[in-house]
């Protein structure tokens, strides 16, 4: 068994888990829980292993069905993919532990488990694939599963949010497919590395301009960048809490940010214009998201607006195009995955115990729910950028990168948005957790053990993630991911070299 054979497992494992759950889940009551957790744990282990092998080998290419590039589909594991795999699968594992207890409030657990694993398979497929159309197929798997998961409670507002989300996201998919058609016609290949080399030979031309616009609109819709964000504040709060955490934490990143980075940096090649568009949209999302969040009194809706704002930070960092900027953007992506999913899990825990999402109806919960209170404190401090939590380091790096690149205006807006985030989360902490205990809340109990376990694990990651900046860790994970983006369209050469090695 060669080491390269691990690559298809990232798709095969969750798919097999999902299929088995539909066969067995109806009859065996514990099967969905056990299968989901086993699968996500195996995926987490595999992704940590993948960091190791990506570090040792550089780029690993797997030809599905033994067909050579560009005739078959190739899967590519490099620094960026392994970084994203770790992010996605870490969060997914914690969430699947959380949902053991949380999903007892819903019927048909096997459908939840199956859809959850299908969504995970879609995200892993998007990250691992090296083929443009294959990326689209997996993107659609993840999207279709997420439409159904948003409507999981089948109440009025959930169905409505799911419909709105599904329509807008499908329009995004159509733009992406249109872009793929144009690129296929222009280059007559679908493999990303091959496409990059053809584009270098033939030169860009007007068609890449049109394709860039289509991709920014399409993936921007998936990532909820500001002019395309209207679905997110409805869809993310409506889903069950573990799914909100999944959507905000990793889905918009793997389908949106990762895909944009991979395609623009490694295939089409970035121009200063695309970078400045990304940066402008990022800054816009950052400010508008936080501005809209301040007025919210619904806990989950507030968090959803903050997701828009934090995605803006990621795009601002990556759009700078400097080594430090990309590094900070990716680091913030990881941090945001961790603390935003923790916050959504906390909101889920509060909803589980009290039955409400309105901040005004809560109060003094930290005395009744100590674990939830403490983890919310950690996560809120992280997102607001208070030292020494992880959010502080990444935001600091983004601002420093802005200043280094001479973009003082953007640095100012980043600081302003950070201050507003802090204000908004001070409000959350005050009203929900540290105010006087209300009468109605005096009977509230702490959540069951699995929920506590998963929240504590994520909180520990929040505290420790700052260590990623130090030495060896940094070298294995973040630096590798950043180098992939900095290489730009040399990606093609590197992938073809990776084949020779394999």
């Amino acid at each position: 068994m060669e080491v390269v054979n691990i690559i298809p497992l990232f798709v095969v494992l969750p798919l097999a888990g999902a299929f088995l759950i539909t066969l067995a889940g109806k009859y065996l009551k514990r099967a969905p829980d056990i299968l989901t957790n086993l699968t996500t744990f195996a995926l987490l282990a595999a992704s940590i292993f993948s960091v190791r092998i990506a570090w040792q080998h550089g780029v690993l290419v797997y030809n599905v069905g033994a067909w050579q590039i560009p005739y078959g589909i190739a899967m590519v594991l490099d620094g960026l993919s392994s970084f994203m795999l770790v992010t996605v699968n870490l969060v997914a594992f914690c969430i699947s532990v959380f949902s053991i207890d949380y999903m007892k409030k819903f019927t048909s657990k096997w459908k939840f488990g199956s859809l959850f694993l299908l969504m995970l398979a879609g995200m892993n497929g998007v990250i691992i694939t090296g083929d443009l159309f294959n990326l689209f197929v997996f993107l659609e798997i993840a999207s279709v599963a997420s439409y159904a998961l948003v409507a999981f409670g089948t109440e009025k507002e959930e169905l409505e949010a799911a419909f709105k989300y599904a329509v807008m996201s499908t329009v995004g998919s159509l733009f992406i497919l249109m872009g793929i058609v144009f690129l296929y016609s222009y280059t007559s290949t679908l493999n990303m590395a091959d496409m990059a080399s053809v584009l270098i030979q033939k030169g860009g031309g007007n068609i890449t301009l049109l394709v860039s616009v289509l991709f920014i609109m399409g993936f921007g819709l998936k990532a909820a960048l500001v002019p395309f964000h209207a679905w997110l504040p409805d869809a993310h709060p409506s889903a069950p809490a573990p799914i909100s955490a999944m959507l905000s934490g990793v889905l918009i990143k793997s389908l949106g940010v990762y895909a944009i980075c991979r395609i623009f940096f490694n295939v089409i090649g970035v121009t200063p214009e695309t970078l400045s568009i990304l940066m402008f949209l990022g800054a816009l999302s950052m400010v508008i998201g936080v501005y809209l969040a301040i007025g919210q009194w619904d806990f989950k809706r507030l968090l959803a607006y903050h997701s828009i704002s934090q995605i803006g930070y990621v795009f601002l960092g990556i759009g700078l195009g400097t080594p430090l900027g990309i590094f900070a953007g990716l680091f913030h992506l990881f941090n945001h995955s961790v603390f935003k999913s923790l916050l959504f899990l906390d909101s889920g825990a509060v909803e589980y115990s009290t039955g409400t999402r309105q901040l005004k109806e809560m109060g003094g919960l930290s005395s009744r729910m100590p674990v939830t209170g403490a983890t919310s404190l950690v996560a809120s401090m992280s997102i607001a950028g208070v030292p020494p939590f992880n959010g502080f380091w990444s935001k600091l790096l983004i601002i420093v990168a802005c200043v280094q690149a001479g973009r003082y205006g953007y640095a100012f807006w980043a600081v302003l948005a950070s201050v507003m985030t802090l204000a908004s989360f001070t409000k959350v902490l005050k009203y929900a957790f540290y105010d006087r205990l209300k009468e109605a809340m005096s009977q509230v109990k702490e959540v069951p053990v699995f929920m506590k376990l998963s929240m504590s694990a994520l909180a520990v990651v929040c505290v420790l993630a700052g260590l990623l900046l130090i030495g060896g860790w940094n070298d294995a994970l973040l630096d590798r991911a950043r180098d992939v983006l900095l290489e730009g369209t040399k990606y093609a050469v590197i992938v073809f070299k990776g084949i020779d090695l394999g």
């Binding site: 798919l15 999902a18 299929f19 539909t22 599905v64 069905g65 067909w67 560009p70 005739y71 078959g72 589909i73 007892k104 409030k105 819903f106 019927t107 048909s108 459908k111 199956s114 859809l115 299908l118 398979a121 497929g125 159309f133 294959n134 197929v137 997996f138 659609e140 798997i141 279709v144 599963a145 439409y147 159904a148 998961l149 409507a151 999981f152 409670g153 089948t154 109440e155 959930e158 169905l159 799911a162 144009f182 016609s185 222009y186 280059t187 007559s188 290949t189 679908l190 091959d194 053809v198 031309g205 007007n206 068609i207 301009l209 049109l210």
Partner: protein
């Protein structure tokens, strides 16, 4: 290639009817006509596999949508002034087409594709995969992984529909709910 233009114009007219007619059932049936036209267009463009699939999928979509609209209310959807809507639509479509026409000069001319990768399938496909139907050899051998994804999407949609049609979504923690 006269028939291609005729079919395209037919589809555009059908699409305009489908979006502008007020009765939902008529709208759905107009979409059926567009889909039928599309299927024939695929045939004239030498894609029989796609034509068959398009035809059967069209029938299924039509049945599902008619089920959805039948015996439901007749909403008179478009409100607002019609000329305003028309102007917006025409401006929108022509801007889009203008940009596209400008960019399309880079694409290969219609009917003369580059066939960088495609030529390999046409030459070697029979030998290397053994399938006479080259489309089958591409979807199930060269790019079988895509087809796994495609089957998975359909699977996801089935589970998704079963999820959405549940009567009871939420329950108490220890409550047993009868599920179907």
């Amino acid at each position: 290639m006269v028939e291609l233009y005729v079919l395209l114009v037919f589809m555009i007219v059908g699409a305009v009817v489908a979006i502008e007619v007020e009765d939902l059932l008529s709208s759905v049936i107009a979409v059926g006509a567009v889909g039928l036209g599309l299927s024939i267009t695929f045939l004239t463009l030498k894609a029989p596999d796609v034509a068959i699939t398009q035809l059967v999928v069209e029938i299924l979509i039509l049945i599902i949508l008619i089920q959805a609209t039948l015996k439901r209310d007749l909403p008179f959807s478009t409100s607002g002034r019609w000329y305003l809507n028309t102007i917006i639509a025409v401006v929108f479509i022509f801007t889009f087409l203008g940009i596209a026409a400008y960019c399309f000069r880079d694409l290969p001319e219609f009917g003369y594709p580059m066939l960088r990768v495609g030529r390999e399938y046409l030459k070697e496909g029979l030998e290397r995969s053994g399938a006479v139907n080259l489309v089958a050899s591409v979807i199930l051998d060269y790019r079988a992984f895509d087809t796994l994804g495609e089957a998975t999407i359909l699977f996801t949609a089935v589970i998704g529909v079963l999820t959405v049609v549940r009567r009871i979504g939420r329950k108490k923690v220890d409550e047993e709910v009868e599920e179907d």
